[in-house]
């Protein structure tokens, strides 16, 4: 008596997707066991990740046979039988990303794992009849499919893991990213001590042809680590890493490992590195970075605490590198002239660096790369901005921003403008509420500027309403007018400004972050 039903075997044979001759030839144990090829495939072959035909193997099938979409005339039970084909390695590969959250899935869809089938397999298989099911609180199956309409005949999550991250596909919706980061416990962030040893030398790498800002972050990382007792050096020379006896930190892996020297790294080199993420979760740059962070045996660093917590929640040991105006670091900017590259092309009001906050020459400033969303937001604020003295820097840029680009604004120049502005306006790059630590904290709060921002994912070191002010884009015109024009608003501005100064004093004294 066959192990599986005659009907199922007949359905498989009739599907046209199964080649019994090829199967028996490629997998000789089938004949040794005395089983019909279809019987073997349905009983155990599919669970071993075996291919149903040469065509399935050649198309690689990405772990999910084309069968489900082509067996539409068959009964759903038989469709299910065919969809239940996943390579063991693939399941493991998907599992490792932690994008499938078993507990969340179980609670959300009321499913329980059963003998011989884990919930991840159930989720993947269920796609054929319910493509709306999500893998967890972060990965939206439908969003990925919508963002990547060319993904067909393969489960979106499987595609992401096998191809999407490597190809820099946008993986996570802004809304899901917001919720995920908002709900990630920032106590999960690892200490630097647990990632690095004070006994080892640390090499911090960046791509010399990349975005100027990542070089700044790499430089700062070296200074920060040395400041807290480690021994770190900076390099853009990948050769240095091959003979390096110590820890290697790669800043902005989406550049270094994708376009820079890291492309030539061996698996071992990639696994040994610690990756410092600089990117927001809804972007393609983050996807590119994530593949390396997942591959690392040592973990990751992030310049944003909620992002660091999110990575930790994905099982990546992650520390937080706070960008601070540390004395003597590359983010410690003395007051001075704006670079001639900027003053040559832009009209800048005389910067007076007044002691009195209200005497700052610019009422508000905005500095960020222009894109459609930001430009529409600024256009919506234009009538309000037109009433005040503002500094708006929102050029559209393409490719890495390098020194010499006349639209590049260095962190030092940014600091000079912020130091002479009452309000720093923050408009998110996309629909994510990711808190742009560099802009909000380093350039805004640390310069005594009152940051008025779209709502942000909270971070534990600063507090909305105390160190910065949140408002939706619709609320901003009235808020800005109130803050800059009414006596009540000016008092509020002054209060937040004082809170910023107080926080800055704590940092300058080493009381915060450096313990």
């Amino acid at each position: 008596m066959p192990i599986v039903s005659e009907a199922d075997m007949a359905a498989l044979r009739a599907s046209g997707q199964f080649d019994p001759v090829w199967y028996a030839e490629v997998y000789p144990d089938v004949a040794l066991l005395g089983l019909d090829p279809a019987e073997h495939y349905l009983w155990i072959g599919r669970r071993l990740g075996r291919f149903a035909s040469a065509r399935a193997r050649d198309s690689l099938d990405h772990g999910l046979n084309e069968v489900p979409t082509q067996l539409t005339s068959m009964q759903s039970k038989r469709v299910e039988a065919e969809t239940d084909v996943f390579e063991h390695d693939l399941i493991e590969q998907v599992s490792k990303t932690r994008l499938f959250d078993e507990q969340w899935y179980s609670q959300t869809y009321g499913k329980r794992s059963s003998p011989g089938e884990n919930l991840l397999e159930e989720y993947l298989r269920a796609y054929a009849h319910d493509p709306s099911r999500d893998a967890g609180p972060l990965f939206s199956t439908l969003y990925y499919k919508q963002e990547n309409p060319d993904v067909r005949g393969i489960h979106p999550l499987v595609h992401l893991v096998k191809f999407g991250l490597r190809e820099g596909r946008k993986a996570f919706s802004p809304n899901k990213s917001n919720e995920f980061l908002d709900s990630s416990d920032q106590n999960l962030i690892s200490s630097i001590d647990s990632l690095l040893s004070k006994d080892e030398s640390i090499l911090v790498l960046y791509w010399s042809e990349g975005n100027f800002f990542f070089k700044d972050i790499a430089q700062y990382t070296v200074e920060y680590l040395n400041n807290i007792g480690y021994s770190a050096v900076l390099s853009s020379d990948s050769e240095a890493s091959s003979s390096w006896r110590g820890a290697v930190i790669v800043v902005a892996p989406h550049e270094f490992c994708v376009h820079g020297p890291g492309r030539a790294w061996s698996t071992d080199q990639r696994q040994q590195a610690i990756y410092l993420n600089t990117e927001q979760w809804h972007t393609s740059w983050f996807s590119l970075s994530l593949q390396f962070m997942l591959e690392s045996n040592r973990g990751a660093l992030d310049i944003n605490p909620s992002s660091a917590a999110g990575l930790a929640r994905l099982g990546i040991k992650t520390g937080f590198v706070p960008l601070l105006p540390l004395a003597g670091s590359c983010f410690d900017f003395p007051s001075g002239a704006i670079s001639s590259q900027i003053t040559q092309h832009k009209y800048i009001k005389p910067l007076s660096y007044p002691e009195t906050f209200t005497a700052r020459p610019y009422d508000l400033c905005f500095l960020g790369v222009g894109n459609e969303r930001r430009n529409k937001a600024l256009a919506g604020l234009a009538t309000t901005l037109g009433q005040f003295d503002s500094f708006i820097h929102c050029p559209r840029l393409s490719g890495p921003v390098r020194v010499g680009n006349p639209d590049m604004m260095s962190s030092s120049d940014f600091a000079q403008i912020a130091r002479n502005s009452k309000i720093l306006l923050n408009i998110h790059q996309g629909d994510s509420h990711y808190l742009e630590w560099h802009r909000i904290f380093l350039s805004g709060i640390m310069e005594g500027c009152v940051v008025v921002t779209e709502p942000c994912c909270p971070v534990r070191f600063i507090e909305s309403g105390v160190h910065y002010i949140e408002a939706s884009l619709n609320e901003m015109p009235a808020l800005l007018t109130e803050l800059l024009s009414s006596s009540q608003g000016k008092r509020r501005l002054d209060e937040v400004h004082r809170n910023c100064l107080s926080l800055r004093a704590q940092i300058d004294s080493g009381e915060r972050f450096l313990l």
Binding site: H345, K346, Y347, K376, L378, A379, S390, I392, P406
Partner: protein, 251 residues
């Protein structure tokens, strides 16, 4: 500089102001009053408005004349309405205004666009601070049928090589403009791009003012949406511009 013979339809006040706002007018009866009101509401008052009607076929000129008559009673601005003897398009119409102006600075305002109240003041402040710059431009809010910002990038020869991104709504030293021969009449448009390119070729730049100071209306009747943007015309424009400025790379 190519100009057009005109009739003086209306005049009030003096030409002796530091800034002339030059408004070329063609069939914009629906928008011209709002445009002129935005000039009257400027924080900078040392200015003359010169409207040059390019033989509009609608009531634009009459509307401006009536508006100027009303305005003259309560304003110290110079107010002038000229009408071209024949339709000569945008470049020559602007030049005609420049030739008529006696101001140190000319600000170019199309008849359907608007200024924020401190626009002229800020432009004057910038040019006053930079004697080496023949022109200055601010950021512009795009409104009506579209929304966005233009003019957010600084004046850069390497970027201009591949196309224009700076609108004509800018302030220019009259003396510099005259030395450059004014705007050149380019078939299908792009006369503003041509001016920026000639400024590049003289090793000068237009200074960017990092503030949103004016509003650019996008609507179906706008010239940018009709004449200039037809793909056949664009191909011809690219060819012609590359002939005039062989260093361009307009692909």
């Amino acid at each position: 500089m190519r100009t057009q013979t005109t009739d003086l339809i209306f005049s009030a006040g003096s030409l002796d102001h530091r800034v002339s706002v030059i408004v070329p007018l063609y069939n914009y009866e629906k928008y011209i009053v709002d445009t002129l009101e935005s000039v009257v509401n400027q924080s900078w008052s040392d200015l003359t408005i010169i409207v040059v009607d390019d033989c509009s076929r609608d009531e634009s000129a009459e509307i401006v004349k009536n508006w100027m008559q009303r305005c003259a009673a309560s304003s110290s601005l110079g107010l002038f309405l000229l009408r071209n003897k024949q339709n000569v398009r945008l470049a020559t119409t602007r030049n005609t205004g420049v030739a008529f102006s006696q101001s140190e600075y000319c600000f170019f305002l199309d008849a359907d666009n608007l200024l924020y109240p401190r626009c002229i003041e800020k432009h004057v402040e910038a040019l006053d601070a930079r004697a080496d710059c023949p022109a200055a431009y601010g950021l512009i809010e795009v409104f009506d049928a579209d929304t966005g910002i233009i003019g957010a990038e600084v004046f850069d020869r390497a970027r201009l090589k591949h196309g224009n991104y700076i609108d004509a709504m800018a302030i220019v030293r009259r003396e510099s403009l005259l030395a450059l021969g004014g705007y050149h009449d380019i078939r299908h448009g792009w006369e503003d791009y041509d001016l920026w390119l000639r400024i590049c070729e003289h090793d000068h730049i237009a200074l960017q003012i990092p503030e949103i100071l004016s509003r650019y209306r996008v609507h179906s009747a706008s010239m940018l949406r009709t004449t200039t943007n037809k793909s056949k015309n664009i191909r011809e424009l690219k060819r012609n511009m590359t002939k005039l400025h062989p260093w361009l790379d307009l692909h």
